[in-house]
Symmetry: C2
Subunit: 409 residues, 2 copies
């Protein structure tokens, strides 16, 4: 494998158009159409919130009917979540989908809608409908991935997209990831919206497998504020434009599958990292590695507890090595038989807690300096077993309050 | 029953002494002795954190050996939690207990130690030992309940104590509650320390029953920041100085038992309310009533989810009726089959969400005005069943960050 690490300008079979219909203020772009015009497959996972937004309901329904590769379209708006809008919200969503379907001459069930923004508000459907023919028209297909990533932003401070070219069986293939999210980030589907596109041909089962495996180590392993949204969606779309097919079940394609899977998951992980580092008000990215756990689940429980602790997060914001808060958050995971004497904690490879106590040569000044860095690696060894897990979180600052107290104003 | 609502100056059989040994800065009181010199019973519940502080371990051990009413003592320090201090921390705790036991001429297992403050730091045992004879000496027993409540404060902005006199079978009996807590407040044992004392005679089983029933509706139903401490302890102590005995199992004492239980639980609830209203940086107390749930557990799940949502809490801080966040937090409780169309939400009896949508005559200005009050009643009707539950939380403000970023400095 050669990782070309090139920024992709385009992937064959996908085209983007973007506009502003006035959902967001100041004429900022807020509506995007992704036309997957080459026959494509789509797999996805969605929020487990019991009050899912209308577009989540529509996407789930569409997925059930998706039997073979076909022309698909994603219509994505920001500024309004179309969540908690009841039957009317569902009708709004379907009207927009219908309009896209009609403009592209495809079936409505091939149109996947996504919304992000304020909950409980209705979509300005009439305004949106007026723009859809333009979005679908050929002359507007020149938008870039950056434009798409920008159009789906809400409180995000920068657009989030990552692309990769890799070589499989001698041919260049493309993987592209786009995401939005900086608040309402909880370890259970921790993003508002994320999309990964590729021109590598995959079965629906393999695409679904990739989505599930990726979400586990990326979007389900990050925390900004412990809130879970009504609109969380992560979908992957593949066409066959690279001429390369990979499969988890074919022996001859196994090597390519492994390479592809690794890179696909890496894109998910990097998108998750971008989301956390753009966490509302975040000044620091904190990567947490838990080792010495009895099981992967146990490692995750500890990671989630530490990631979600406002007291740990404010200590990181202050650059204050109040290490007791980290130990307390580990204990708050309520693991039976946890033994303090076996716990080691390091910050950027500097041992701070050794066998449950301050390390012998511990220096508060050194710990303080390490905690003042913008990226911090927190390693927690539970000393119980061989399982590991990873989590990512950010610090909790004044700006989190500012952003969320002023969100609608 | 006549509720005399008098502030109690003293309860026979209990005496308090308080001093400052320099654990907290600026000579603030940080060590208190509560001598339960009349034969007493004690019951308690403690943190479920897997790394409990040394005093929690000692209290639990002592409880096992507590067979009959005897002279008991509580030694409580603030400023240092004696948590995550390993074997040495346990020895520190036992040395302090030994010293109290020796000064009062009682057994060590009759001394119950409590600590609250910074985790991972060692107790200044030598300094504490020097003060214990003074604390135990007769001339220092003049401290008030306010003094005790003040000595156990950490980030609390005011001392928390409530007292009640009620009449049972023609005699006046006393109940007194003292608590500390304003951060690290999670719905699972949501307090650092709370004590309820009474001069009504009770069996150990009844005292334990009162503690468990009280904690359920009070300290386990409040949330400030979703953090759970290493030191959470709630204990109740009863002697027989009022000459009144109540029992849950005796027919003749049933009426008195019911009156007493109601008042005892009320003290717990009011202490919990004081803790939430003193939540770190809190500007508003939010009382949440969940009705129309299928079960009490379901109501609590919704209450916990709404109470813990930073986005709901920042909206309340801003006085911004961003009601979608409340619905989203309800949905985040992941209740199967939850129907948005059946959900009603009121703020101080003003219907804001009707059948899942903005109420017909909803006025944003009116909602904003109601959300600007210092005490807010949020009613959530799930429209599914007959069960109810209550929760309390506070808003999330800049000062939460300030207090916790600067805690050790």
């Amino acid at each position: 494998m050669i990782n070309l690490s090139k920024k992709i300008d385009s992937i064959k079979g996908f085209s983007v158009s973007v506009t502003s219909v006035g959902i967001k203020k100041h004429g900022r772009p807020d509506l995007a159409l992704l036309d997957c015009y080459s026959p494509s497959r789509l797999a996805g996972v969605f929020t487990s919130n019991s009050l899912p937004a209308a577009p989540v309901t529509v996407c789930r329904d569409n997925l059930v009917n998706l039997s073979k590769p076909s022309r698909l379209a994603l219509i994505i708006n920001s500024g309004c979540a179309n969540a908690c809008t009841g039957k009317d919200g569902l009708i709004d969503c379907l009207r927009v989908s219908d309009s896209v379907a009609s403009a592209l001459n495809i079936e409505r069930k091939s149109v996947f809608p996504f919304s992000t923004g304020v909950i409980l508000e209705r979509l300005p459907v009439e305004k949106m409908l007026l723009s859809i023919d333009d979005l679908a028209g050929n002359k507007n297909r020149s938008a870039s991935w950056r434009d798409l990533a920008t159009a789906i932003m809400t409180t995000d401070s920068f657009p989030k997209f990552i692309s990769k070219q890799i070589v499989l069986s001698g041919r260049i293939v493309n993987i592209l990831g786009i995401a939005k999210g900086s608040g309402m980030i909880h370890p259970n589907m921790a993003t508002m919206l994320a999309f990964i596109l590729t021109d590598v041909e995959l079965s629906f089962q393999d695409l679904q497998l990739l989505v599930k495996d990726t979400v586990k180590v990326s979007f389900n392993s990050i925390s900004v504020d412990g809130d879970m949204s009504t609109n969380d969606s992560f979908v992957a779309i593949s066409n066959s434009m690279s001429g390369i097919k990979v499969s988890s079940s074919s022996l001859s394609e196994k090597k390519d599958w492994n390479i592809f899977k690794k890179n696909f998951m890496q894109i998910g992980l990097e998108l998750a990292e971008l989301i956390v580092s753009d966490g509302e008000g975040a000044t620091k990215l904190i990567k947490i590695e838990i080792s010495g756990a009895v099981s992967y689940e146990e490692a995750c429980r500890v990671g989630e507890s530490v990631s979600n602790s406002p007291l740990v997060k404010t200590a990181f914001f202050a650059g204050d090595p109040n290490l007791g808060r980290i130990l307390s958050a580990i204990g708050a995971s309520e693991i039976e038989g946890l033994d303090l004497n076996k716990i080691n904690v390091s910050i950027n490879d500097y041992l701070v807690i050794q066998s449950g106590l301050l390390a012998r040569d511990y220096s508060e000044i050194k710990a303080k300096n390490l905690m003042s860095l913008e990226e911090i690696n927190l390693s927690i060894d539970l000393g119980r077993g061989k399982a590991c897990g990873k989590y990512m979180t950010c610090d909790l600052s004044y700006d989190y309050i500012k952003i969320n107290a002023e969100y609608r104003s």
